[in-house]
């Protein structure tokens, strides 16, 4: 004889945060400098973010031509982790509060 399964009660939250009220997090930015080789920057983006060569080159060129490129938008912890990795490779990377 099969036992009956008692399902848990479902409590529906009536109040939810609007997108605007959620923590916007941080953006990870790579800034231009005159010392890191362009091919090396592409290589680091591929290694750290697991990007394709095309995507990594796009961001490398944005750094080179526009002075900076936003690489990711993340929670504080993940943004910090990315900055650590990029700086271990000597890239001029910072995390800034997202707007």
């Amino acid at each position: 004889m099969a036992a009956t399964i008692e399902l848990p009660d479902v409590v529906r939250e009536e109040d939810t945060e609007s997108k605007e009220n959620l923590d916007p997090g941080f953006v990870v930015i790579c800034w231009d400098d005159p010392v890191n080789l362009m091919d090396y920057v592409t290589h680091v983006f591929q290694t750290v973010f697991g990007w394709t060569k095309e995507k990594a080159e796009f961001h490398m060129l944005e750094v080179h031509q526009k002075g900076k490129s936003v690489l990711a938008r993340e929670s504080m912890e993940r943004a910090e982790c990315y900055v650590h990795e990029l700086q271990k490779h000597q890239l001029h990377a910072t995390m800034e509060p997202a707007k």
């Binding site: 010392v35 080789l37 091919d39 800034e96 509060p97």
Partner: protein
């Protein structure tokens, strides 16, 4: 330095005797840097981020200490460079190339920071700062060879 074989993630490079000396010279400089190349954040709340800034400094110091051990092991490893009549052969896998790229770039960028982060190097050469600029260019030469091999 020339790539002579690339197969199944293994790369064999030929080094002229002079090139091996130059690679050894720049690797022995490691670590050149002593802190982060940039602050953790340019516009974040300084007080809130102070602890995180220190974490970055500590993480980089720990990374440099670990890398230094690997550099010493690399330079001291018997048979790492196979000698032949014309020079040496160095066999590296992908992870070793990535590691070597990171170390060479640390030396290159570290020298640049020591020189005061100049926007260009030519003026420094004219001012007599030939050696550190040459060391930066030697690092760049080896980096380009390694990157070229990875893209081959």
């Amino acid at each position: 330095m020339k790539l002579i074989e690339a197969k199944d993630g293994q790369f064999v490079f030929f080094f002229a005797k002079r090139e091996r000396l130059l690679l050894t010279h720049v690797l022995r400089l490691y670590p050149v840097g002593s802190g982060p190349v940039a602050p953790l954040s340019k516009s974040g709340d300084e007080q809130k981020l102070a602890e995180h800034e220190q974490t970055l400094i500590d993480a980089l110091a720990e990374n440099r200490a670990d890398q230094k051990k690997l550099v010493d092991a690399f330079l001291g490893e018997e048979g790492r460079f196979d000698e032949d009549k014309r020079g040496y052969r160095l066999r590296l896998n992908v992870d070793q190339i990535r590691w070597l790229l990171q170390v060479l770039n640390e030396v290159r960028v570290g020298r640049w920071v020591q020189l005061g982060r100049p926007p260009e190097l030519a003026a420094l050469v004219m001012a007599g700062q030939v050696e550190p600029v040459a060391e930066m260019e030697i690092c760049a030469f080896f980096q380009m060879q390694l990157l070229g091999a990875m893209g081959a």
